[in-house]
């Protein structure tokens, strides 16, 4: 629910400064949070270049923000110690954009009960309700899944919950810190009149017969078919795994019905890039030959080229048979373009073909690596629940491994390890400023509706351990010798991560596990450039100076108009402040009283004037009548 008043809104592109006080990991997390805003809303962020008002992100004490644009020039927002989580940053920026907490809305008591005697003494005010003169729920239902909702343990004085949801199923849902909920996005997009986003391009689960405007290629041997099952597999689509009767479609290229080398092309609708880099993500199922392959092309339309030029981007070969696989393909297209999926029949025997589903295209960076975990549920709460990923390499050449701890019965733990690798002799040690971002993928078909769980850690080359070693030193020097399943020995450095990555309840609340498969997306990038100070331009204009000369009372906000500072005063439905400094309060009731009083006064004045006029006229008439009578008497006397 949002703060009422247009003066609290930011422009759609918000200027920001990441102050030097911030930890380098926090800076990276904040930039990742901005990417989520760019994907799902029309809000964008840009480094401050002298605009009158901007958000200064600091490492203060704790995690906090002001609500709405306060028009103070440099408006602070704190991402303190332990606040460097993406959903926490999203939460604080939602405050800055003008949102209060979900459970403070006026209809709160219809949905949750506040257990007052379980609240820490003196903290009861945190559970106040604010009426619709202060906040606006924007016609959106109460949202248990909001990233702006307190968790059930907020401000508790013991172990019992302070917030009890009236629908018990939501008791462990409130307080999620994964990503925006659908209603968070609806409210934000309503408040800021969003109609598009900067980085989202298209999403397709093939549920509609128009197949998202995709077209069959010409001059190839076969077509892709929209089906709900294929004879050689899969039995269901990926979007809803066949759970909804009469729906659940995907596109299938039947390689068993064509000759070796035959192709079928499926082209996306025309797409218009803004940023010049894209990530194509989709699920692929192979029920044909292990030699069947999927080629990804882009057909670009530079100015004047109506036919477009076709460029091969990636050949996907050796596609595992018999299960849905997740693929990412990086594109770098600046012209108008189409994405082309080309199925190609390989040489081996085929009883099926290739199937694609849940395509998402966005102007974002693809993750560097994917860890696909099969038969996931069997590991939950099991002594066998210590899972190590295959080895991966970062773009800089560091080898690493992820450890997922599923042994606990409540929480999933996740840890990042550097391991010995082929490039170690050429790399810098201790490993400096590599940020590892670990994302548990919510497999919702639509990328904009996903609530994936993400945490990031950054290697600090100065960090030491109890034994005096550098934590991120070369694994062959400070790590333990361990063995891969194939018997190969390697060294693994100490893990760095969290035992509270996500709870199983939250894991089951979304599509994190689908067909008993789970995906951990991994990106390890060099963030050493974030160590340097962001350029700080001299503030433009005299906006701040002009406003510093006046003080607006009653929460009024100073703005500069035609070179003159003036106060914009807050108002509600039936009240307002006015005057040069917003010092005068007015309300509808006052106006009615004034109007009624004025009417009565005017009526009384007119009545008095009328009465006086009548009195004078009558008096004058009587005088005249009296003198006429005297004259007539005299005349009569004279006549006689």
């Amino acid at each position: 629910n949002s703060i009422i008043g247009e003066m609290y809104r930011w422009p759609h592109t918000i200027p920001y400064v990441l102050e030097d006080s911030l930890d380098i990991n926090a800076k990276g997390v904040i930039l990742n949070a901005f990417e989520r805003y760019r994907l799902k809303t029309c809000i964008d962020f840009k480094p401050w270049s002298g605009e009158a008002n901007y958000i200064s992100v600091i490492k203060g004490s704790g995690c906090w923000s002001y609500v709405g644009n306060r028009h103070v020039g440099r408006q602070e927002l704190s991402i303190g110690a332990n606040c460097d989580r993406i959903a926490t940053v999203q939460h604080e920026f939602l405050h800055a954009l003008g949102f209060w907490h979900e459970q403070s809305r006026s209809d709160r008591d219809d949905y949750v009960s506040i257990i007052w005697d379980r609240i820490l003494s003196g903290r009861e005010h945190n559970f106040n309700i604010y009426d619709d003169e202060v906040s606006d729920s924007l016609n959106v239902p109460y949202d248990y899944t909001s990233v702006m909702h307190y968790s059930k343990t907020a401000f508790q004085n013991g172990t019992e919950p302070t917030i009890v949801t009236r629908i018990s199923d939501f008791e462990d849902v409130i307080g999620q810190r994964m990503d925006f909920s659908d209603y968070d996005l609806l409210k934000l997009n309503r408040l800021y009149n969003c109609t598009s986003s900067l980085s989202f391009m298209d999403s397709c689960n093939f549920e509609l017969e128009n197949v998202c405007g995709m077209i069959q290629g010409s001059g190839d041997a076969a077509d892709w078919q929209r089906v709900s099952r294929a004879s050689g597999g899969p039995e269901t689509d990926h979007s809803n795994m066949g759970q909804c009767e009469g729906s659940g479609f995907f596109m299938h290229f039947d390689s068993s019905s064509v000759n070796v080398g035959a192709t079928a092309r499926l082209e996306s609708r025309t797409l218009y890039p803004k940023r010049g880099f894209q990530c194509l993500q989709f699920f692929l199922y192979n029920s044909g030959s292990e030699d069947d392959q999927l080629n990804i092309y882009v057909r670009e339309y530079p100015a004047g080229n109506v036919d477009g030029s076709l460029t091969l981007v990636e050949e996907l070969k050796e596609i595992p048979v018999g299960s849905w696989q997740l693929y990412h393909v990086t594109l770098n297209v600046a012209n108008t373009f189409r994405v082309v999926f080309e199925g190609r029949r390989g040489s081996g025997a085929s009883l099926g073909g290739l199937s694609i589903d849940d395509i998402n295209l966005s102007e974002t960076r693809c993750p560097h690596n994917i860890w696909h975990i099969r038969n996931f549920t069997q590991f939950i709460g099991s002594p066998n629940g210590s899972l190590y990923s295959p080895p991966f390499y970062s773009p800089k050449g560091y080898a690493y491994q992820i450890y997922l701890n599923l042994e606990s019965t409540t929480n999933v733990g996740i840890y990042f390890h550097l391991i010995s690798g082929a490039n170690d002799d050429q790399l810098q040690w201790p490993c400096p400023w590599q940020q590892a971002t670990m994302t548990f993928l919510d497999q919702n078909p639509d990328i904009q509706q996903r609530m994936s769980n993400q945490r990031s850690i950054t290697t600090d080359p100065f960090m030491t351990t109890d034994d005096g070693n550098y934590l991120w030193d070369r694994p062959s020097r400070v790590g333990q010798v361990v063995v891969f399943p194939n018997g190969t020995e390697y060294s693994r450095g100490r893990g760095y991560g969290t035992s509270a990555f996500i709870t199983y309840e939250r894991l089951r609340s979304r599509d994190f596990i689908k067909g008993d498969d789970a995906f951990i997306l991994l990106t390890v990038e060099d963030v050493s450039h974030l160590n340097s100070t962001q350029n700080q331009p001299v503030p433009t204009s005299s906006v701040d100076d002009l406003c510093s000369e006046i003080t607006c009372e009653n929460d009024g906000i100073c703005t500069v108009r035609n070179g003159k500072a003036e106060c914009r005063c807050p108002s509600g439905k039936d009240w307002w402040y006015s005057g040069e400094r917003c010092e005068k309060r007015g309300s509808t009731r006052d106006t009615i009283v004034i109007a009624a009083s004025s009417t009565a006064a005017v009526f009384a004045a007119m009545l008095i004037v009328t009465l006086v006029s009548v009195y004078c006229t009558r008096k004058k008439y009587r005088k005249k009548t009296s003198s006429n009578t005297t004259a007539m008497t005299l005349e009569t006397q004279h006549a006689f």
């Binding site: 906090w64 103070v72 332990n82 945190n126 991560g497």
Partner: protein, 38 residues
């Protein structure tokens, strides 16, 4: 494993818990209301 570093210390702290531990008493737990210096 004991060798691993747990950045959350085994506790899933929410925003309000972090601020409470720091002795902050902010509006609704994490909101600054007071006037900010220009």
């Amino acid at each position: 494993t004991p060798e691993d570093f747990d950045i959350d210390g085994g506790i899933d702290q929410d925003i309000f818990d972090i601020n409470e531990d720091l002795g902050l008493d902010l509006f609704e737990g994490d909101i600054k209301l007071g006037a900010q210096d220009r």
